[in-house]
Symmetry: C2
DNA sequence: GCCTATGTAAAACGATCGGTATCCTTAAGG
DNA sequence: CCTTAAGGATACCGATCGTTTTACATAGGC
């Protein structure tokens, strides 16, 4: 990726192997296409809430999993979180793409909060927000430094926060 | 601010009350102007290292001060850290503006590391990197959510990290 | 008074981009 | 075979942007 503003419709139609005309029959405008793209990303990237009928890992693993990034083995520079990037590339808070990014970030924290709450953490909102902030820090710093190593730094902090919150509950909660 | 890409030279010359021609006699290009702007920001925003001949606050205060943001009382939306924004708006890792932002971010962490080292922290590099990551998280998340409240969340995490690192040293170190 | 230098205002240029229209090929259905 | 609908390639349009150039104003040195 190279940023939204630097990506033209011409280029998109080329790599999609679709004419620009067909592109504009499927999407009303570039803004609409960006929104659809972000919506699809949303479903792919949001942390999955624990489902009752699944081999669920421990809450600790669930909360820390967001810091284990599986990178595509490309030569492209590391670009962090697409939603953070959108909120920078589209500064207008009233723009739909910016609002969509904000909604994603809120939902992201909410899911972490839900996992924490189900695990019996005392202040799940606080832990969820803290972990989300750590994630965003790792993503943003990774973008600036062109490195994904920031994830392990964030994870180490997250481990101490999660462990502290979970030991307050007691290792064997009802 | 509204982002680098969205700010034209026309607008700059207008608010600077200077003709576009004079602008181009002082700066070789828009890239050059952006570089100069970032350089000036660098000197203003980097955490100040403790100087021997100053009424120095405690190391704890110094390390946590970066999370106390003094906001101009404008109606403009909160835009986080300009250097993080640049690294997103100029995705090319080879571009001078991108590299300047990366250099700032490294220097930022290095200064925190220096303060931690002078305070006798066991692993100052780790603490400096952790605090820098927290700062970037607060800035990035603040940009996405259009709020500066993320600073207090980051500061609370930072307090626990700093306090843990300083109590390992012992409250009364030699 | 005149020359030069410097700056302003504004036009103009080339490039790029989002978006639309035009022309052509292709393939299915009768 | 003919019609028709859909899509591909591409030219085009208007706008914007970075940059340069042109024309004009102003002020100091001789």
């Amino acid at each position: 990726m190279q940023g939204i503003n630097a990506t033209g419709m011409e280029q998109l139609s080329t790599v999609a192997e679709v004419s620009k005309r067909t592109l504009y029959t499927h999407f009303p405008s570039k803004d609409g296409l960006v929104e659809a793209y972000l919506q699809s990303l949303k479903d792919d990237l949001l942390p999955v809430l624990p489902s009752p009928a699944q081999p669920t890992p421990s809450p600790r693993e669930q909360l820390l999993a967001v810091f284990d990034w599986k990178l595509p083995e490309t030569t492209a520079p590391f670009r962090g979180c697409p939603f953070l990037n959108v909120s920078v590339e589209v500064p207008d808070p009233g723009h739909s793409a910016h609002q969509l990014a904000a909604a994603y970030k809120r939902e992201f924290a909410r899911r972490l909060t839900d996992i924490a709450r189900q695990a019996g953490v005392a202040d799940p909102e606080n832990l969820g927000e803290q972990l989300a902030l750590l994630f965003d820090g790792a993503a943003a710093r990774g973008t600036a430094l062109n490195s994904s190593d920031t994830g392990v730094c964030a994870r180490s902090i997250a481990e101490s926060l999660v462990d502290a919150a979970l030991t307050d509950v007691g290792p064997a909660s009802p």
